[in-house]
Symmetry: C2
Subunit: 150 residues, 2 copies
DNA sequence: ACGGGTCAACGAATTATATTCGGCCCCAGG
DNA sequence: CCTGGGGCCGAATATAATTCGTTGACCCGT
């Protein structure tokens, strides 16, 4: 992880489709060198994959919410089963398994408030291990790039 | 948004670098057609961009946490200023602005518990508008693809 | 039913990019 | 001082992206 790797990680986070030539030009190195660097980063597991970011409203999922959940008992088995259940729900964007007050944070994208209501009341509350649910609507959500060291 | 667009959205979420030829072959259409479809999805704002997913432990940020924050007073001005402050912190991965019990959820990636402690106690608590903080360590975190309709 | 117009898709030709590979340079170890 | 390894380079080659003229399907008005 020298400053070249670090710069590549930064540039690729901004635009994962930037051409190898482009990257090489910006960094002042040969395309072949750049290619080898990127390959190495992938092989070392630093770069995990290339994802495409989609516009949720365009897909009819313009409302986001975060659902905090506690399960009972908070045993490994119960937590794993609940997690698997939640991850299979199509409305779910991501799931955090936490220490502390809540066991889960579930980030969902839904069509509208009715849809949200249905997800919480029809889907989640099916689960008997569910002890507590608090739903918060997301006003705005932003993501930052990760700055690579060295 | 016909089923071709939908399939493209799905495939590109899985691998944003999949070659146009590859996509076309899988969908049974000509490369030129596929290219035009992807361009259209970008132009219509359905596809927002191509990001590279990085491995946080590889970058020395192996510990994740979610920090729930309330600010006082919860006015637009206070919330906007706090948000701008938080988004500028390098440890921050994403910020949710919420309705309900908490005003913010801050997802951070840090080196270790000491680093986390420092972020919360040295950085966040600098802010006088901060009324309440609850930190939860993330055991695991998973993201799902968005399924496109039609 | 017919004719015209529009639009998306096609595929060959062109342009641009990725990838390979032999050689060179620098540095560390002997 | 000699030597080996590693990283980088750039020309050559393979693959892919992109353009564009053409074609056929569909829709609409007559």
């Amino acid at each position: 992880m020298d400053e070249l790797d670090s710069a590549l990680v930064r540039l690729l986070q901004e635009d994962g489709r930037r051409s190898n030539r482009d990257l090489a030009r910006e960094l002042g190195i040969a395309p072949s060198t750049c290619l080898e660097r990127v390959r190495s980063l992938r092989a070392r597991g630093v770069l995990l994959g290339f994802r495409t970011e989609v516009d949720l409203p365009s897909l009819g999922r313009g409302l986001q919410a975060v659902i905090a959940v506690r399960v009972r008992p908070p045993s490994r088995r119960v937590i794993e089963e609940f997690r698997a259940f939640v991850e299979a729900m199509p409305e779910v964007l991501s799931v955090f398994v936490l220490t502390g007050g809540d066991d889960f944070l579930i980030h969902v994208a839904v069509r509208d408030t009715e849809h949200l209501h249905s997800v919480v009341l029809d889907e989640l509350t099916k689960r008997t291990e569910l002890a507590d649910v608090r739903t918060s609507v997301v006003y705005s959500h932003m993501s930052r790039k990760v700055v690579a060291p060295a």
